[in-house]
């Protein structure tokens, strides 16, 4: 975790580009060194299929973004692979493995123990505990957490001190150190996001899964969150995150996976994906490049053009309906 820690080989952007340039930009393409592999994972809620992923691999050591319109099944997919939900296809081909370990029947806590730690879209800070206590809960293999050893203080005090030192280091990095004895419930929304990320890092994960880390965070804090995510990658950690903000996705992700209606519709580098017509249709809309705050949009010419486009689309749709 410290500054002196060995930087991963993939800290160099050119190196990452080279690595991913050989990967085919089609859904379910195979990666040179995948840390997470998912096969035939289906989740149905009644008649609605929320997730239907045939194959997905996540490359080790880079930042992969998972994007898609609302209701695309991103969070459900997260829940499935982290053990918070069971796939409908369990027993009929659903299989996923992390770092060579099968996770099909593993509970959420064992998934976290195996090195894949997640955060939540709605931040789950432990409100009535202090920031420090929140952090210390993140550490793994604590002797004092076993009931038998907990009453015998000497069996865990030295480990406790190590954990505390590590927590302080992380809090310092995430600029939360002066809040260490405040209740987590008194932090602002953005600070809670930071706390949740720092807490997840306490377990020294191999891969961190962030569910909308930027939702509801002010722009200044977004910058520092992005910096943190990139530095994690540079230290050799794998990052998979769900995000809506296209600027963020373009800025930091090395690989983008697009979901729509439960399926993976495209994969590729950020630029490739965003020029992919399937993605544009499904998610971005034809005007994703236009700044909506631009006054030029209000000119009569633009409005006429937009109206024309709308009319054309409607005509197309009517034709489809007839057919």
């Amino acid at each position: 975790m410290s500054e002196t820690a060995a930087r991963g080989a993939l800290a160099d952007p050119a190196e990452r580009k080279k690595l991913m340039s050989g990967v085919g930009a089609e859904p379910g393409s195979s990666k040179p060194d995948s840390i997470l592999q998912v096969n035939t994972i289906v989740r149905q809620f009644g008649g609605m299929t929320a997730v239907d992923v045939h194959h997905l691999e996540v490359q080790r050591g880079i930042i992969t973004a998972l994007i898609g319109p609302n209701g695309a099944g991103k969070t459900t997919f997260f829940n499935l692979i982290t053990g918070f939900d069971r796939p409908t296809s369990a027993g009929s081909g659903a299989a996923w493995s992390f770092d060579g370990r099968k996770l099909d029947k593993t509970s959420a806590s064992s998934v976290a123990k195996s090195g894949m730690v997640r955060t939540f879209q709605l931040t789950k800070a432990l409100n009535r505990m202090t920031v420090m206590e929140n952090m210390m809960l993140g550490a793994q293999n604590q002797a004092g957490e076993s009931l038998a050893k907990s009453i015998f203080r000497p069996t865990w005090t030295s480990q406790e001190k190590q954990i505390e030192a590590k927590a302080e280091e992380l809090l310092d990095r995430f600029k939360l150190l002066e809040k260490r004895s405040d209740y987590a419930g008194s932090l602002s929304g953005g600070q809670r996001k930071l706390l949740e990320m720092a807490r997840a890092l306490m377990s020294d994960p191999k891969m961190i899964m962030l569910d909308e880390p930027m939702a509801g965070v002010n722009p200044a804090l977004t910058q520092s969150l992005l910096g943190h995510i990139q530095s994690l990658r540079d230290e050799g950690m794998t990052v998979l995150f769900v995000e809506h903000d296209m600027h963020v996705v373009r800025h930091i992700s090395d690989w983008v996976v697009v979901m729509a209606e439960g399926r993976i519709v495209a994969e590729g580098s950020a630029d490739t994906v965003m020029s992919n017509p399937a993605v544009i249709d499904a998610y971005l809309g034809a005007h994703h490049d236009t700044d909506l705050g631009d006054d030029a949009l209000l000119s009569d010419a633009t409005l006429e053009q937009l109206e024309k486009e709308v009319a054309e689309e409607e005509a197309e749709r009517e034709e489809e309906d007839k057919a």
Binding site: F84, S107, S109, S110, T119, L137, E145, I151
Partner: protein
């Protein structure tokens, strides 16, 4: 003044009685369930009853007392497993429903007369009289026979117990209590750490002595409700407090509170939430069973005396003292039982005698006391939801 002294004496007898201490032990267990882990256990009385049955029946079958205690604890252990396995994976409300019904099942099985084998063990609704199992405990007493009053040196020895002596005494005691509260809150002096704890301990000792000086308690040395019972149960309360302090201030205790706050977050951090909840349910249940054994020692094992109302007394005491605090359960029990007797004694004296006002008959005063206790509990939850010792900051983030 004599009337007041009698009311105070009645309160003191109730406050030091072994049954108050026994309930305090059960409340300490309930605090692990409800206060720290957030398990809504509405069947603490069943843990107490099972502990009492295990203990009493084992002794009537000539099992040595040590093993009888183990059997009582084992009963609660198995009961906790049976309750926990199906419900702890579900949402919290299910545990509440299952515990309250399981407690009723245990009580009804205890008082059933249908099966002769069972009836011979439990004695039905009449229960097992204390004389059949109290022997081994009483014979351990090193106190001998006779009576002892604590304190031997009391207000009657100063100026023949004149009114002014008692008045001055109570003023001093109340002033000391106020000082202790202020030191506890950090608004008086700037003591920290060990000095603060030392000052508090000293003040509490002086306050206790002062109260016993003003309201001496005469009791038999060894007999039922005697000093032997009182001292042992209160010592056990102390032991339980030490054990709970060690447990709660450990990483295990931290994990309990984590589960109370958010189970999913704990799962995402790699904690086995089911195991933690089960451990908490078992540990709290064992304290309940111990409390149950102590509760029946000076009485009888009667299923109806350990029914729903005891569970609700436990909750009242817990909320009064402050959930998720170490001392809350003990303070809550003292105030709850002391307060209840105060209302009964005061209404007996002032509201049901021709000397003052004759509003109600003698039987009604204890029911009246429960009304007042209920109203007080409502006011407490509205105006001081964190209880006497709780931290208001903790409640502010109740989401």
């Amino acid at each position: 003044m004599d009337d007041i002294q009698q009311i105070i004496n009645a309160m003191m007898r109730e406050v030091v009685s072994p049954q108050t201490a026994a309930v305090a032990i059960a409340v300490i267990g309930l605090n692990i369930h409800f206060g720290y882990t957030g398990l809504l256990n509405i069947g603490q009385s069943a843990f107490m009853l099972l502990g009492a049955y295990g203990f009493a029946i084992a002794i009537t079958k000539d099992v040595p007392m040590f093993f009888a205690i183990i059997i009582g604890l084992l009963m609660a252990f198995v009961f906790a497993l049976v309750l926990g396995v199906p419900t702890l994976k579900l949402r919290g409300d299910y545990l509440a429903i299952v515990t309250i019904s399981a407690a009723e099942i245990v009580r009804y099985v205890g008082r059933s007369v249908g099966y002769e084998g069972l009836f011979n063990l439990t004695g039905g609704a009449q229960g097992i009289p204390g004389s059949r199992y109290r022997g081994p405990f009483t014979s351990l007493s090193p106190f001998g026979d006779g009576n002892t009053t604590i304190l031997e040196f009391n207000y009657t020895d100063v100026a023949d117990g004149a009114t002014w002596v008692r008045l001055v005494g109570w003023i001093v005691v109340i002033a000391l209590i106020v000082a202790a509260v202020k030191i506890g809150r950090g608004t008086l002096g700037s003591l920290t750490g060990g000095a603060r704890a030392g000052a508090l301990a000293g003040l509490i000792a002086v306050i206790t002595l002062g109260i016993f000086f003003l309201a001496p308690v005469p009791q038999q040395n060894t007999g039922v409700e005697g000093w032997w019972f009182t001292v042992v149960t209160w010592l056990l309360v102390g032991v339980c407090l030490i054990v709970v302090t060690l447990l709660i201030r450990s990483p295990w205790g931290r994990a309990l509170r984590g589960v109370r706050e958010d189970e999913d977050a704990m799962r995402s951090l790699g904690k086995n939430v089911f195991a933690i909840k089960m451990q908490a349910l078992v540990i709290g249940g064992l304290f309940g069973a111990l409390g149950g054994m102590m509760y029946v020692l000076p009485a009888t094992v009667q299923p109806d005396s350990l029914g729903r109302s005891i569970t609700f007394f436990c909750y009242t005491a817990l909320l009064l003292g402050g959930a998720a605090t170490i001392w809350g359960p003990v303070l809550g029990s003292l105030i709850f039982f002391g307060g209840r007797v105060f209302i009964i004694a005061a209404s007996n004296t002032y509201l049901s005698s021709d000397k003052y006002i004759n509003l109600m008959s003698g039987q009604k005063t204890s029911q009246f006391a429960f009304i007042v206790v209920g109203v007080a509990l409502m006011l407490l939850v509205i105006f001081r939801p964190q209880g006497i010792l709780g931290d208001k900051r903790e409640l502010r983030f109740n989401v």
